[in-house]
Subunit: 412 residues, 2 copies
């Protein structure tokens, strides 16, 4: 993509109506624009990051046997009344049609999916079943000051699992733990599996918490990685020695990027979702649910990976891999050389953003690079010879390498 | 995918609450489930079809220079008031937050995009600009009896183009005509480019109409392909001889699967979207907009391609390319043979659904094949020898071919 054509130019000043680091940087760098508090539009750069995260999540969910589907945002009031959540779920956006309908905008999809599963399964042979979607959710949040970390409209991956008994659910719960570990690692995030409240229906659930000063949650955890608990339910205090000899437990702020939750028969009971076991006996289906906030993952990455100059995207989710910066482009031969490099990289299948703007200082162009945060910067100028000037976003030193060496660095 | 594991089994009887052919077949075949009138959930088979259509649309929009983004469903009331459409657009779902916000659920995105474009462009150098998204839209429709042809919630591709003058807009309008032709052809639809009303702002617009008795629109058209007009604005009558000698004009019902529309300065004026031309003079940006109903395209394909037995998917949008039907699977060697075929096809990159159910008659299995509508059926039974029994969904005769020949038929 040529930067001169890209929709989403950088801004030098922080937007006045944003307080969070993620929103300030993402707006300035041209990834997002606010619609209203808690609701954002994703410009082409932002869309590309979401797309990368979605692909990682899809691969891991498919690998865990998940079948992808797409459920509606408008949800039937009647089903929310059956579970008692029409009144008790306080963040519902309720919507009246002019034609005697009433909906909620879905903040989650148990009320949609369980009635469908009820129509489609009968026997133990139909279980287990793993269904997921990547879809836009809505919650009427009281506060919406955290940029894309806590939205009134946001994208989630939600997977629901259906089992014949607790044991099977618990075993899939462990499979999902591994999937979640893979998803977050691949997105460049160190997410700590953290014990959390199970609510009224389960002893426990697990949250995936990324340490970050701007996080809304607090966890008590062992740096050795064998223990973490949300302070809400922690039985131990900061400073206590870890049982496994990893030293004192720490307390820190964190962002919850995902959670997994044994629903047990909470929703099966509400909708009469049962199956016939091997002996022909009707039994309730046991469920689990597993969420990842896609937009929140994007925001968390920015909160964790940035410096005073801008964003530092991990390669796996970066909107482009290489930022070709053309300098001295007023000289025709230099422009041709820069165009050539842009095309060569594209021909190698490397996603490239080419800053083709003329009459702009190196300083201004490099500032934009640092703000946008693409992993590799390649400079083409009138000084460019056999070797290319390459710099990684998070490293200080510039390297001079041949094109072949550059391709090797980029893992091709 | 093994059919025994697939979420979305067939149903023999038509659903009682559906009148449209598309909804009856898609529900019976396990592609969709109704949430409420005009709102559908897409089960795994349905999701796969949407995904195929989306990919075709994306390829064509990217080829036409479109930059993909993702805008919000919740839209700022203030911007709808600026265009006067908060009151005049009668299908808005208006949503009140508990926190003094008021939104509409977006039925279209001019009110969102134009203010963003205003922030980001200044000069004639920033034009033209082509932005699109594939996103869920909402309209509070009075009637919602046409299945996924007319939804209260539906998926659309909407592209907006921004130009320095009418001429440039008109030239891109012709580019989009070609893109639309490609999209519909690739989806297997014969869409007739049809003159339609331009509303208050333009002399004309164009609709893409697919002939179908269940269509809500009526067009007067020449079978030779040189003329088509929506009856709403047609200056000629059915039966009149075509000027180019193609015989009498016909009148027929049709489904509108897309439309393209010169917006001119309607929204630029409302939001003060201007640019500086070469002489430094402020001028209003000229716009066009271009929509394709993704879910409607899916429904239209079913309306057009079905018979008394079920759906007949075009290869380009079929959920799977091959339906392997195992018979006599109670015999272990036959099950092994069928499994082997399933794996061989998958290894060749051919998307395959494998009906691995035991103790079910050939008749029942073939009926499910015909209902689901996958292009190729391959039967594996105890009678299977060197040659495979292959049948195309829309052909009557069965062929007996080697595996290599089958791969050739499938274009590999």
């Amino acid at each position: 993509m040529k930067y001169s054509k890209l929709f989403g130019k950088t801004i030098k000043q922080d937007p006045k109506d944003e307080v969070s680091v993620n929103a300030k940087l993402l707006v300035r760098a041209g990834f997002i624009r606010k619609e209203v508090a808690g609701v954002y539009n994703y410009l082409p750069l932002g869309f590309r990051v979401l797309d990368k995260i979605n692909k990682i999540v899809r691969e891991q969910m498919n690998a865990a046997g998940g079948q992808e589907m797409l459920m509606s945002a408008l949800q039937n009031r009647a089903n929310w009344e059956k579970t008692g959540r029409w009144e008790s779920f306080d963040a519902l956006f309720k919507v009246k049609s002019r034609y005697d309908f009433e909906f909620t905008l879905g903040p989650t999809h148990e009320e949609v999916l369980v009635p469908i599963v009820k129509q489609l399964i009968n026997s133990y042979k139909d279980l287990p079943l793993y269904l997921y979607q990547i879809q836009t959710k809505f919650r009427d949040e009281p506060r919406a000051k955290s940029g894309i970390l806590r939205g009134r409209e946001f994208i989630m991956k939600d997977l629901y699992s259906f089992h014949a008994d607790d044991k099977d659910m618990e075993s899939y719960y462990e499979v999902m733990k591994k999937s979640y570990k893979n998803v977050f690692e691949r997105c460049g995030l160190k997410a700590i599996e953290t014990e959390a409240t199970g609510g009224a229906f389960s002893k426990f659930s697990h949250e995936y918490q990324v340490l970050c000063r701007s996080g809304e949650d607090e966890i008590i955890y062992c740096e050795g990685g064998d223990f973490s608990s949300n302070v809400e339910i922690a039985q131990v205090k900061e400073g206590k020695q870890c049982d496994l000899g990893h030293g004192p437990l720490k307390r820190a702020r964190a962002i919850e990027v995902g959670n997994i939750f044994p629903l047990k028969t909470r929703f099966s009971d509400a909708f009469g979702l049962t199956f016939k076991d091997k002996d022909g006996k009707e039994k309730p289906v046991v469920m689990g649910c597993y969420g990842i906030g896609i937009t929140r993952v994007m925001g968390t990455i920015v909160e964790v990976y940035h410096d005073e100059k801008g964003i530092i995207w991990p390669e796996s989710v970066a909107p482009y891999m290489v930022h070709v910066v053309g300098l001295d482009l007023e000289e025709r031969s230099v422009m041709e050389e820069a165009e050539k490099m842009y095309k060569l990289l594209q021909a190698e299948g490397i996603e490239t953003l080419f800053d083709d703007r003329q009459k702009m200082s190196a300083g201004e162009k490099f500032a934009d690079c640092d703000l946008i945060g693409i992993p590799y910067r390649v400079v083409i100028s009138k000084k460019t010879g056999e070797k290319l000037e390459v710099k990684k976003r998070h490293e200080k030193e510039t390297k001079f390498v041949t094109f072949d060496k550059l391709l090797k660095i980029l893992n091709f």
